[in-house]
């Protein structure tokens, strides 16, 4: 990327346009999450998950405007630090709308692209706690998580904080977005406990999702949106880097599908479409940390290993009786950590030690705070619906509506 002083208005316009188009692509990921999660829950809880996943991006954008953006990007004064804050609200002067702000985007583009990312981590959590969490406590969690926890962790690396200085590399958020959401999902699933009837004695009773077509639409929309998620993270339309990122992203997803297919076939002797769908997502999450620093061949390896991890991880969480209806922890946490480490292994000039430090610090902070929030909510407002509500479903009991009249 040329320096800000020399970039032509033409290149600036193209770069900025790409960031905005990427924003729209990332937006569609929220629909992707809504479809995946509602497809994988029971018919009686569909309205509930849709309600959450519709409110989350709205909440995410507004809280990011209020303070998230300025927590995550507090400016050079806080470089290398753990925490910084540049004040409430968003605003800019004329210069913020030119390449003087950044050769890749205006201030507004910067805000809206980052803001669209912000809500993603809360959406990840909503899948893991589905079918049994109370609505209001969940929204309280969401607001705190999106407004404070996510931006603070983001600041450590993307905001120029201590992880940046420590040589940590997370291109588009295997750790900063996905594993943060995944840790929150794990914390929520633990504090809440499993759905009634999921674990009976030592056996696991599957509770199949109500619509695989809906889940499939969601996975494809996520893959589509990922071109903006990873592609936009190039922060310009630089042809060489952007085209590499498209290739690594695509091949990572493809490899995840294929290895999840084979692995689940060998493990379960069936062609399990839910595993393939999760394999794609695992491949995408896995590739996200290093999409800019690895070769296409390496992206196949990283995505392929992510696809292998998925079925093992799903079985593992079932075994330790953590009930995650949509597989959010397997996809976002396990593959997010894997992708971050893989960047240390394969990425040129990247250090596995730095990556380990990042994974550890982020995990400790994200899991710790999420656990704390959920726990405090549990002992104050309560976080779990009554048994009666859970059996009749949250749609009728919390929303007084039914998802389908078919």
């Amino acid at each position: 990327m040329e320096s800000a002083t020399t970039i032509s208005q033409e290149l600036f316009t193209t770069n900025n346009l790409w960031i905005l188009i990427s924003t729209a692509f990332v937006f569609i990921m929220h629909l992707g999450f809504a479809c995946v999660e509602s497809g994988f829950v029971q018919k009686k809880n569909v309205i509930n998950i849709i309600f959450k996943n519709t409110m989350i991006p709205a909440i995410g954008l507004l809280t990011y405007a209020i303070m998230g953006f300025n927590l995550m990007y507090p400016g050079a004064d806080f470089a290398g630090g753990f925490f910084g804050f540049a004040g409430f609200g968003i605003s800019t002067d004329e210069a913020g709308l030119t390449s003087a702000y950044n050769p890749g985007y205006t201030y507004w583009s910067d805000f809206i692209f980052q803001g669209m990312f912000a809500a993603t981590c809360a959406t990840i959590v909503s899948g893991a706690v589905a079918e049994r969490i109370k609505l209001v406590p969940f929204f309280i969690f969401t607001i705190i998580f999106v407004m404070l926890i996510y931006p603070i962790i983001g600041m450590w690396h993307w905001g120029g904080g201590w992880l940046k200085v420590a040589g940590f590399h997370d291109f588009a958020g295997s750790s900063l977005v996905h594993s943060v959401g995944g840790w929150g999902a794990l914390a929520g699933a633990i504090v809440l406990g499993p759905r009634i009837g999921k674990f009976v004695g030592n056996s696991v009773r599957p509770i199949p999702g109500h619509s695989i077509p809906l889940a499939t639409i969601g996975v494809f929309l996520l893959w589509f949106g990922w071109y903006g998620f990873n592609g936009g993270s190039v922060l310009s339309a630089d042809p060489a880097l952007l085209s590499l990122v498209f290739v690594t992203t695509s091949l990572g997803a493809a490899a995840g599908a294929v290895t999840a297919f084979f692995t689940s076939y060998f493990m379960f002797k069936s062609y399990d479409v839910s595993m393939v769908l999760n394999g794609i997502l695992g491949g995408l999450v896995g590739i996200t940390a290093g999409a800019d620093v690895i070769t296409p061949m390496e992206s196949i390896i990283i995505g392929g290993i992510a696809g292998i991890l998925i079925p093992f991880s799903v079985v593992f969480f079932d075994k330790i009786k953590i009930d995650d209806p949509v597989g959010a922890t397997s996809v976002h946490l396990v593959c997010g950590v894997w992708g971050t480490l893989a960047t240390g292994i394969f990425g040129e000039g990247k250090s596995l030690v730095s990556q380990l430090i990042g994974v550890g610090a982020i995990g400790a902070f994200a899991f710790g705070t999420a656990f704390l929030i959920f726990y405090i909510l549990k002992v104050t407002t309560g976080i779990r619906v009554t048994e009666d509500y859970e059996e009749r479903g949250l749609d009728i009991t919390e929303h007084e509506m039914e998802a389908y009249k078919i």
């Binding site: 009773r205 599957p206 689940s264 799903v314 079932d318």
Partner: protein, 112 residues
């Protein structure tokens, strides 16, 4: 008047339907039901955990006939629904007090 209920394989519905219409018994009511029986239910997997689907999808036919045509209808259904494999289903015969046509207010034989 007899009520004949037949619980048959979904895949045999078309052939029962045409067999019935061949003997002129083309008025009846049916619905989809789920059955448990000697036939093992479908064995399925979801996200790595195996389980039984817990039922076999079946069709439940209800047909009201005059006493003297009952035997013929029963035999027709039995033949058309028969495969010889476990899971063929059952035919249940009972006596009703009366059947009434809503349109004509006529009852029994003349209601059909």
């Amino acid at each position: 008047m007899k009520k004949i209920e037949a619980i048959i394989r979904s895949s045999k519905f078309e052939s029962v339907k045409s067999a019935l219409s061949e003997i002129g018994a083309s008025f009846f009511t049916y619905k989809e039901v789920k059955g448990f029986g000697k036939q093992a239910t479908e064995h399925v997997t979801y996200r790595g955990a195996e389980y039984d689907l817990g039922y076999i999808a079946r069709i439940h036919i209800e047909i009201i006939v005059a006493n003297d045509s009952a035997a013929k209808v029963i035999e027709t259904i039995r033949k058309a629904a028969h495969t010889g494999e476990i899971g063929d289903g059952k035919i249940i015969i009972s006596t009703i007090d009366e059947i009434l046509s809503i349109r004509t207010s006529k009852s029994n034989e003349s209601a059909l």
